[in-house]
């Protein structure tokens, strides 16, 4: 029910505003709670620190080397600030302190002579231990650092064990990202320390990867950056983009097809914010711009971090290309230690979420007859009663029936299997020592489609998609100040799939099956006596009544399925060299980071097919139930000559090279104790060169020229007391597309954040909101991908074609003429987005993290075709200008939380919510007199159509209503056809009566929420995902029964959807609101009903049980006996349940109901750590 979604939305809105209100109320109630009150004449420092911790929540770290915690002071604090207390405590020592986040670190004061007050007698001690999580699993890579001695530290091995030489009494800190750090004091004599780290829900110390791979503490972020734990993107599908919907706050995503290799989701950061050319985000993998296809193929196990940069402040550095948001992925790098091997193997079966329900062949024939009778009472009906009775006999397998003469074919079942298997596996190896660390991974996936194959056939036509990847990241410490990183990776895809006529890879077989009559011919005939030695399959068909291209009337979908396949092969090899240079020899805090990256892409495609032999049954003798086969396509010339052998057709190939250079100069410095500044200067250059040999698209001189971008970007930040942050960014970008005076664009942003919970006045509020941060940003971001046209400042003239003429007796003198593809236009420039973002991050009750953001984007200078140029100008191409404007605004909320119950049970929750709405704020369109036709103020992607009132009661009413003739054949509507509203009241229905209807076709709201639980060795998680505020149209032109599809390829008559058969207007059943209007046997006569109108408008919202996963981790003793460290077996499913108001097909396919359905996947996997 749609109202359910609205309710849900309202509820979330309410919750958000309630929490906001709560937050501000608490602020005023708890202003003084950062004060410390403690009176104890003989207090040890330890006691004082404990009190500070208790009363303010600050953890205080100190080194026993420099401070004796048993040192006594006279504590008499009344409402003293933490600073006062600390100054008092440390007055006897040469020490100072630093407050970082919620931590107070006590350290040496900047004094030259080191006082020797510590306990020199402490003896060296070699301690060992293990670090485990709450589940008892050993944690690898945990940092064990001695607080006092910077040189002393280690990492845990794969089993969580460590060995460390420390001095007795020293404090060691055990820390690992995602866990709360612990500090323990090494006591003399105790050699073994077993530490259990608790998962840190507040994740205040999470490192966030931002622009140009900069790692920042989450607290310091001022822009809108969403980080996603790679783990949540792990779904049982070989396509990462399918996991984005509902998992990432701020990303609107949906998947329009389920065909392996063709199932990339469409995704937009904060929805579509422009009606210009490029609407999708920039994708950077290890800092290098790649395509959504590369993202889709990325192996989740290889991902170290996944960030989505959403606002101006976060994306400004990408200036030119960041206007639609940025997705930043970093792959894993090796960690020092013993080699770790991680193996994952998965095996899944997929099946369609929902299949189309078609009516039975008998109903098909009866209603086809009805359609003919009701439109052309004088014409003969297409199916005789004799044919219907005999087909009934076929269906009943009655004695004497003949399924080949009177076929009743279930094409869907004929072409498609119920299930298809998929295998995936990957292995990674990492380790290394002080000098070099490596991460090497390989993965493999093998996806199969659900198309049937036939053993008689000589080629495999099913969809098969294989993906191989190899990745190697090696970090080398050349010196202690110089690190070299070499990344080599390759992605290789091999596709095999059915032929298509339109040059695409999306299979047309669903369309074909639903546009082929079930009763006109069988899929194939068994060999009769005359064909016993025939080698080919005897495909069925009807003899052509007409058609210039062959003698068979239709396309036999089964023949089309079996007659061939296409394959493509795609590979990308990437080599990347990075250099990290510490420039402390110039000045402290200066670093240089450089990247040189190149990749080479190669693609080629080909068709292999034979031409089917078509037969028809003739001379049927009912008495003996025999017939003869007649070969139909008995042609000698032409494209459709039957051939048993395979024919090879090479198709397009494409090679491209990519080159990227980046240099970053980074500086960070701390002044005094509270002032931190940092600055960075970034220069990049990027070039792509394509050499495509296309069969379909034309390759021109323009497309062969290199695509280039050049950027100088800079950043300056200032923070005070790690509580106030200010950041300034700019991108000064150059693009080769524009004329010299518009080639460069300057895009500055400013942002700031305030950790309000660190303020003293936060006080008691700390008990509820132990972290509360506000941030805001404002700025400009540019976009140069504003058109598929390359150089606006040059006219694009085809001097050799387009307007040909020929002369002479036999037209022997031919000249191709000149045509103008584009006029030069010096003024075209950058599309700019002015973005404002307000964010709020807080943690409630130390358990629930919430990030909520509101934003508003104003896109301007959107390139748009001038609508004000009349055709009398005689221009051969449109003229475009940067005149469009669009506005979008919305909110993203994400929250997560975790609760441990007892020792062995833990529960985690996370949810995401994205709402984005947009509208045209300036759009050049003809100045329609009708206000309801104005584009301005309408959402982007909202559709335009007629308002359907109901069906006409009878022919008489239709004749006396405002005229609505759409058919070029001049057929006026009749009773049972759709009646449209005459919006402008001029007595006729035409384009001036169209207006904007429904919601946009892109979801405005995408949400997801999930729960996971673990109990001892079991874990269970489930994730729901949904979209709302979205509309789509059933395509009446392609679903109307009995008529030909407007796509010329589908020669057959459209099948009858069961829903239409059950609910349509007929003379006997004159339902004015029937699902389908009056039937008709050809397209022209029902043209009225095929118009875009809200009759066909449907609510596209849905909610899915997107995934469920049940896992079992082998107890460590069993694992140990098997010689592995850790083994988890899991079972999961994808797209398991769907709730939607639309029932005919999967609503995520939108109006495209005859496409390869979204797949439901069941998967079993095992993950082994060695």
């Amino acid at each position: 029910m749609p109202s359910g979604y609205i309710k849900k939305f309202l509820l979330i809105m309410k919750m958000t505003s309630f929490m906001l209100m709560l937050a501000f109320m608490q602020v005023s109630a708890a202003v003084f709670s950062q004060k410390i009150t403690y009176v104890n004449k003989d207090a040890t420092l330890k006691q004082v620190f404990k009190q500070i911790n208790k009363q303010t929540g600050y953890n205080i770290f100190w080194s026993p080397k420099s401070i004796n915690s048993n040192h006594k002071i006279d504590a008499a604090f009344k409402n003293a600030s933490i600073d006062q207390v600390l100054v008092t405590c440390l007055k006897d020592f040469q020490l100072t302190y630093l407050i970082e986040g919620k931590s107070v670190i006590i350290k040496d004061a900047p004094v030259v002579n080191t006082p020797n007050v510590t306990d020199e007698a402490a003896a060296d001690n070699t301690i060992t231990g293990t670090v485990k999580n709450e589940k008892g699993e050993g944690l690898a890579g945990v940092t064990i650092a001695s607080m006092g001695d910077k040189k002393s530290g280690t990492l845990t091995d794969n089993n969580g064990r460590f060995v460390l030489d420390v001095k007795d009494g020293s404090e060691i800190k055990i820390s690992s990202i995602g866990y709360k750090s612990q500090t323990i004091t090494v006591t003399a004599g105790k050699k073994v320390y077993n530490i259990i780290l608790v998962e840190d829900v507040t994740s205040a110390e999470t490192v966030v990867v931002t622009a140009y791979g900069r790692k920042q503490l989450k607290e310091a972020i001022v822009g809108a950056v969403t980080t996603v734990k790679p783990g949540v993107l792990k779904i049982p599908a070989s396509n990462l983009t399918n996991a984005l919907a509902g998992q990432v706050a701020g990303v609107i995503a949906y998947t329009p097809s389920g065909q392996p290799g063709q199932d990339n989701a469409k995704f937009f950061i904060r929805g579509v914010t422009t009606f210009g050319y490029k609407q999708d985000p920039l994708i950077l993998i290890d800092n290098v711009e790649l395509t959504s296809n590369d993202l889709a193929r990325l192996n989740v196990d290889d991902i170290e971090s996944f960030s989505v940069l959403k606002d101006a402040s976060a994306t400004a550095l990408y200036g030119a290309r960041g206007g639609n948001g940025v997705i930043l992925v970093k792959t894993k790098e090796g960690k020092a230690g013993k080699a770790q091997i991680n193996v994952r193997i998965e095996n899944s079966t997929s099946q369609s979420v929902k299949t189309l329900e078609l009516s039975d062949p008998i109903t098909y024939m009866r209603l086809f007859n009805e359609a003919t009778r009701t439109r052309y009472p004088l014409n003969p009906i297409p199916y005789s009663e004799n044919k219907i009775i005999n087909t009934q006999a076929t269906l009943a397998h009655a004695p004497g029936s003949n399924e080949f003469v009177y076929p009743a074919v279930d094409w869907m079942n004929m072409l498609f299997k119920k299930r298809a298997p998929t295998q995936r596996g990957n292995i990674s190896l990492q380790g290394g020592g002080g000098v070099a660390r490596y991460y090497v991974a390989g993965s493999f996936s093998n996806d199969n489609g659900i198309l049937r194959t036939d053993i008689r056939n000589n080629n495999n036509n099913n969809v098969n998609y294989k993906n191989y990847q190899l990745r190697s990241n090696v970090n080398i410490n050349i010196t202690d100040k110089t690190e070299l990183i070499v990344r080599l990776s390759g992605t290789f895809n091999d596709y095999n799939g059915p032929l298509t006529s339109d040059g695409s890879l999306q299979t047309q077989l669903y369309n074909l099956a639903s546009h082929t009559s079930p009763v006109d011919f069988p899929a194939y005939y068994p060999a009769d006596s005359a064909n016993l030695h025939t080698q080919h399959i005897l495909f069925g068909n009807s003899p052509a009544a007409s058609g210039t291209d062959g003698a068979s009337k239709y396309i036999n979908p089964y023949a089309q399925l079996l007659s061939g396949h296409q394959r493509y092969s795609e590979s990308r090899m990437l080599a990347q060299l990075e250099l990290n240079q510490n420039l402390s020899f110039i000045t402290q805090g200066l670093n240089f980071h450089a990247i040189m990256s190149t990749n080479r892409y190669a693609y080629f495609r080909s068709y292999l097919n034979y031409n089917p032999y078509y037969y028809t049954a003739t001379n049927y003798d009912k008495a003996s139930n025999t017939y003869q086969l007649q070969w139909i396509n008995n042609l000698s010339t032409g494209n459709n000559v039957a051939r048993e052998y395979l024919n090879y057709t090479p198709l397009e190939s494409n090679n491209s090279t990519f080159m990227y250079l980046q240099g970053v100069l980074d500086y960070a410095h701390t002044f005094g104790k509270d002032h931190n500044i940092s600055a960075a200067l970034i220069g990049t250059r990027q070039q792509t060169v394509n050499s495509s040999v296309n069969s379909g698209n034309t390759t021109t001189l323009f497309t062969s020229l290199p695509y280039r971008n050049q950027t100088v970007a800079g950043r300056a930040t200032y923070s005070f007391k790690s509580r106030y942050y200010l950041e300034f960014n700019f991108g000064y970008n150059g693009s080769e597309r524009f004329s010299a005076n518009h080639r460069q664009g300057f895009f500055p942003t400013i942002g700031g954040s305030w950790i309000i919970s660190d303020e003293k006045f936060w006080g008691d509020l700390y008990n509820v909101f132990d972290r509360f941060k506000l941030r805001a940003s404002y700025g400009l971001v540019g976009n140069d991908a504003i058109s598929d046209r390359r150089f606006f400042y040059l006219s694009d003239v085809n001097l050799n074609g387009g307007n040909p003429a020929s002369f002479g007796t036999n037209n022997a003198y031919y000249r191709p003429g000149v045509s103008i593809n584009n006029y030069e236009n010096d003024d075209v420039t950058w599309e700019v987005s002015k973005q404002t973002n307000l964010g709020m991050e807080f943690t409630v009750l130390k358990k629930i993290n919430v990030i909520a953001e509101v934003y508003k984007n104003n896109k301007y200078n959107i390139l748009q075709d001038r609508a004000s140029i009349p055709t009398t100008m005689g221009l051969e191409s449109g003229i475009s200008a940067n005149i469009g404007k669009a506005e979008s605004k919305g909110i993203d909320i994400s929250l997560d939380g975790k609760q441990n119950i007892g020792k062995s049970f833990s529960l985690a929750f996370r949810g995401n919510f994205t709402y984005s709405e947009n509208k045209f704020t300036q759009y050049e369109a003809p100045d329609y007199p009708e206000a309801y036709r104005q584009q301005v103020g309408q959402p982007i992607n909202r559709q335009y159509g007629y308002i359907a009132e109901r069906l006409f009661v009878d022919d008489n009413e239709a004749a006396n209503s405002p005229s609505q003739v759409f058919s070029t054949g001049g057929f006026a509507p009749k009773g049972g056809d759709i009646k449209y509203r005459d919006l402008n009241g001029d007595g006729k229905i035409d384009a001036a009566d169209q207006t904007f209807i429904g919601n946009p076709t892109l979801p405005q709201m995408v949400y997801g929420f999930g729960l996971s639980a673990s109990y001892k060795n079991f874990d269970l998680s489930g994730f729901f995902q949904g979209q709302a505020k979205v509309s789509f149209f059933i395509d009446p032109a392609r679903t109307s029964p009995f008529i030909k599809s407007p796509d010329s390829y589908y020669t057959g008559n459209t099948q009858l959807l069961k829903a239409y058969a059950d609910d349509h207007w007929s003379e006997d059943h004159q339902n004015l609101f029937a699902l389908y209007p009056r039937l008709g046997p050809d397209g022209a006569v029902i043209e009225n009903n095929r118009q875009n109108s809200n009759w066909w408008l449907r609510d596209g919202s849905f909610m899915r049980l997107k995934s469920v996963e049940l896992g079992y981790t082998l107890p460590s003793r069993i694992a140990k006996s098997l010689g592995v460290k850790n083994t988890r077996i899991y079972f999961n499913g994808l797209n398991l349940l769907t709730w939607s108001p639309f029932k005919l097909w999967d609503p995520e396919l939108g109006g495209n109901g005859f496409a390869y359905p979204i797949q439901k996947v069941f998967n079993v996997g095992i993950n082994v750590n060695l």
């Binding site: 007409s546 250059r685 100088v712 150059g734 003429g817 055709t871 221009l875 070029t968 054949g969 022209a1084």
Partner: protein, 636 residues
């Protein structure tokens, strides 16, 4: 070591810094722009051909309003497959014309119409730049300019016939014109006519009188063409549709300027007559004369009746370089012969590609004269009332109708042009591989079992009449096909004679002065002269002696002589007679029946919708919104 780092650092920084702007300047200097189209003669000639390109696209009959809305041809609107024919133009007589998305929209270049303003812009670009090529001789330059001017005038004429008042586009508006400048206004009809005539007058002296290099240049514009087009333009301007048409008085620009002349101006006919005579003279002086059949090698002896029929049947289908009558034809070959031809053989009937869909309604068939050269309802000797009764053909009829075949009386005793232009059930078909006059094919069109009958809802002729005139007798449809191509004349001498006769009559000249021009055409058709025919056979023997009567005769003569050549459709419009021609249902025979008695029953096939407003094309609503200075045509 330290300095090493510094150097490295400096180098990398230098690379990554934006120092040279050149990096982004990726386009080579000599990218082809429009200037390159006029660098030399070779390129400029290519551009000249671009100016011709739109003209050559006018070859498709289904996109020619003169063909599709002339009441001569109907095309079904419910075919299962239109076989590549866009039915939009044919459907216009069904009342489908609209202002939202007009059919055959030559203003915007949509729905079968050519983008005529683009064509004009190309001509202007040609004229603007023609001085650039350095290696273009002065003579050639003059000729090319003249051709571009002719084309510009003709494209204006294409628009003028459809819209009347149109914006004159003498020079191109610059690309960066202000939004106000581009909002052009329609210019009054008289201004448009004067402008077109001025261009043609400028062009004519510089055009060649005949094409010398036929192999390479046949189809290029000549002086006779320019003068003939001028006569057409002036006659159109003098005709009732544009000459003081009371319907259009109200059409004014927003500033109040009247777009159509409010009063009839008889002197316009004088100009038209003078232009027509000038055109005829220059044509005749250069060897243009009425065409007669040139037998091919294997054509044997022919009876006189067949000879006359072939004189007529080959008038437009004869190879254009030997056809003496053609003043102007477009280079592309006539593209739709297979739609005009009945299937004559068993193999052709079994083939999927021979559609024969262009159907001639009964009314067009009845337009043709009796064998006495007068209308069938005027001929005293011809049984008009019982024309749908059956009659069996005799031996004497064998050159017209299959011997012994039963068909309607209406098919007997007709003028040779009837047999030359129309194929009907029982009608003899000279050609399709058979040229022995004693064993020829004849059309068998009754019921779906007959070769030419309706096979399915794709290969169907819904009236039972085919425009035989549009098929070359050498074209063979049998097992496979051989199409003998021809070029459809735009202007031929007979048309000029008829046009001149019309202008003379409108000037009020006596029948004795007018008739000889008609009789030239009639003589080739094997018919007696006007005076003799009417005096002897007509129920109205003095019809020719009044201006009105002679006008009727001239109009009918034109419609017969030029049938299916698109000209009658345009003529009916300028005469304001199309409404009358489309006032009755268009009929055909009961084609699904196989017995003559059931077959020969007229069925109403199309009830045409044609109002006064349909004489002119509507301007697309969107154009009116984009350009507020444009006004719509009457009643749209």
């Amino acid at each position: 070591m330290k300095s090493y780092y510094k150097y490295l650092f400096m180098t990398v920084l230098a690379i990554s810094c934006v120092s040279c702007k050149k990096y982004l300047d990726v386009t080579p200097a000599n990218i082809g722009t429009i200037d390159y189209a006029f660098r030399n003669r070779n390129e400029a000639e290519n551009y000249l051909f671009s100016c011709y390109a739109t003209l050559q696209q006018l070859v498709y009959p289904q996109n020619n309003p003169g063909f599709t809305t002339s009441s001569e041809i109907i095309f079904p609107n419910d075919l299962t497959d239109f076989q590549g024919i866009d039915p939009t133009g044919f459907n216009l007589i069904r009342g489908t014309q609209n202002t939202q998305n007009p059919g055959l929209n030559f203003w915007d270049g949509a729905n079968g119409g050519q983008a005529t303003f683009r064509a004009i812009r190309r001509c202007n670009t040609m004229i603007e730049n023609i001085n650039k090529p350095v290696d273009l001789s002065a003579d050639e330059k003059k000729r090319w300019i003249a051709e571009a001017k002719f084309l510009k005038a003709y494209y204006h004429f294409v628009l003028f016939r459809l819209y009347g008042a149109i914006p004159i586009t003498d020079v191109n508006l610059p690309i960066n014109s202000s939004t106000e400048d581009v909002k052009v206004k329609r210019d009054p009809v008289d201004d448009v006519v004067n402008y077109m005539v001025k261009l043609l007058d400028e062009a004519a002296p510089d055009l060649p009188v005949v094409i010398q290099n036929q192999a390479k240049e046949l189809g290029r514009i000549t002086k006779p063409i320019a003068l003939a087009v001028k006569a057409q333009i002036l006659a159109t301007a003098a005709s009732p549709l544009f000459n003081g048409n009371p319907d259009y008085i109200s059409i004014k620009n927003k500033d109040g300027k009247a777009l159509f002349p409010s009063a009839y101006d008889a002197t316009k006919w004088d100009k038209a007559a003078a232009a027509a005579l000038e055109a005829i003279k220059i044509c005749e002086a250069n060897g243009v004369k009425l065409h007669t059949f040139i037998p091919t090698a294997n054509v044997g002896n022919l009876s006189d009746s067949l000879k006359t029929v072939l004189n007529l049947q080959t008038t437009i289908t004869e190879k254009w370089d030997v056809n003496t009558e053609i003043v102007w034809a477009l280079n592309p070959v006539f593209p739709t012969q297979s739609y005009c031809m009945p299937r004559l053989t068993a193999k052709a009937a079994a083939s999927p590609s021979f559609q024969g869909t262009f159907a001639v309604p009964i009314s067009e068939q009845e337009l043709f004269y009796t064998n006495h050269g007068v209308p069938i309802n005027e001929d005293k000797t011809w049984d008009y009332a019982n024309r749908y009764d059956l009659r069996t053909s005799q031996d004497a009829d064998r050159f017209y109708i299959g011997n012994g075949y039963e068909t309607v009386k209406a098919h007997f005793d007709r003028e040779p042009r009837f047999y030359a232009d129309i194929a009907f059930d029982g009608g003899i078909w000279f050609g399709n591989g058979l040229t022995n006059q004693e064993s020829l094919y004849y059309v068998q069109g009754r019921g779906s079992g007959a070769f030419a009958g309706p096979t399915d809802n794709i290969r169907i002729n819904i009236t039972g009449y085919w425009p035989k005139k549009l098929v070359n007798y050498l074209t063979v449809y049998d097992d496979g096909y051989t199409i003998a191509d021809y070029r459809m004349p735009m202007i031929r001498l007979a048309g000029l004679y008829l046009l001149y006769a019309e202008t003379l009559n409108e000037q009020g000249k006596p029948a004795a002065e007018v008739a000889p021009w008609l009789d030239k055409v009639r003589a080739r058709a094997g018919l007696p002269g006007i005076v003799q025919a009417w005096s002897t056979y007509s129920k109205n023997p003095t019809k020719y002696s009044s201006k009105d009567g002679l006008r009727q005769i001239i109009h009918q003569e034109s419609r017969i002589e030029l049938a299916f050549e698109s000209q009658p459709g345009w003529d009916l419009r300028r005469w304001k007679e199309l409404q009358g021609a489309l006032s009755k249902p268009l009929q055909g025979w009961n084609i699904f029946e196989s017995s003559p008695i059931n077959y020969y029953r007229p069925r109403n096939l199309v009830i045409p919708v044609f109002n006064v407003r349909n004489y002119l094309w509507p301007i697309t609503n969107n154009d009116l919104i984009v350009n507020g200075n444009l006004v719509q045509n009457l009643n749209w």
